[in-house]
Amino acid sequence: MSLGDLYAQYHDRVEFLVVYIREAHPVDGWWLGKGIPKAMLKMSGSKAALDVYDPQTIEERRAVAGRCEVAMQYGIQTYVDEMDDAVNEAYAAKPTRLYLVGLDGRIVYAGGLGPFGFHPSELAAAIEDYIAQMGDAVA
């Protein structure tokens, strides 16, 4: 199940937020833009960008986040972590992670660290379970 599918199926009952965080594989960091990593990305059909340098200002990060939002076409509103990476650190989010927060503000689902622990289908199952438990409270 893709994130787009997840959003399409549940957006009327769940608030979705993309939180854009520090780059996982910028050109000037752990770059995947050559050799075997590049070939593997291409084979997987990933839409990950290979031309992004690590943003040094919030304006730069917001600009890249905007590009990402357009490229991914999830339909989910994107919010951008500040340059202190506070939200990234609070949720140990990098490179990618999924959470579900319940009506009471408590964590209902905490996904594994991506990419290998990133499973939208698990989040879907957690949403289904939570909706079933909460009944009319989540209409």
């Binding site: 594989h25 990950a48 917001r62 992670r97 503000g105």
Partner: protein, 62 residues
């Protein structure tokens, strides 16, 4: 190649350090206030809670 190995070690160290502190099921979700890609429309997580459950998708373009 040596540079890549160093970067990977640093990333792994970061993940181990922060993953141990990451919120678990049942924990109160850390609150935050962020702006959109245009630096506008601030949103606070705690203001969203209570209306619908909130799915948080963390990631980057790379």
């Amino acid at each position: 190649m040596f540079g890549d190995i160093q970067i990977r070690k640093k990333e792994k160290s970061w993940q181990e350090r922060f993953d141990a502190l990451a919120p678990k099921v049942g924990d109160v979700a850390p609150d935050f206030k962020l702006h959109d890609v245009n630096g506008q429309n601030p949103i606070r997580l705690s203001n969203l809670c209570g209306h619908k459950p909130v799915a948080l998708v963390f990631g980057s373009f790379t």
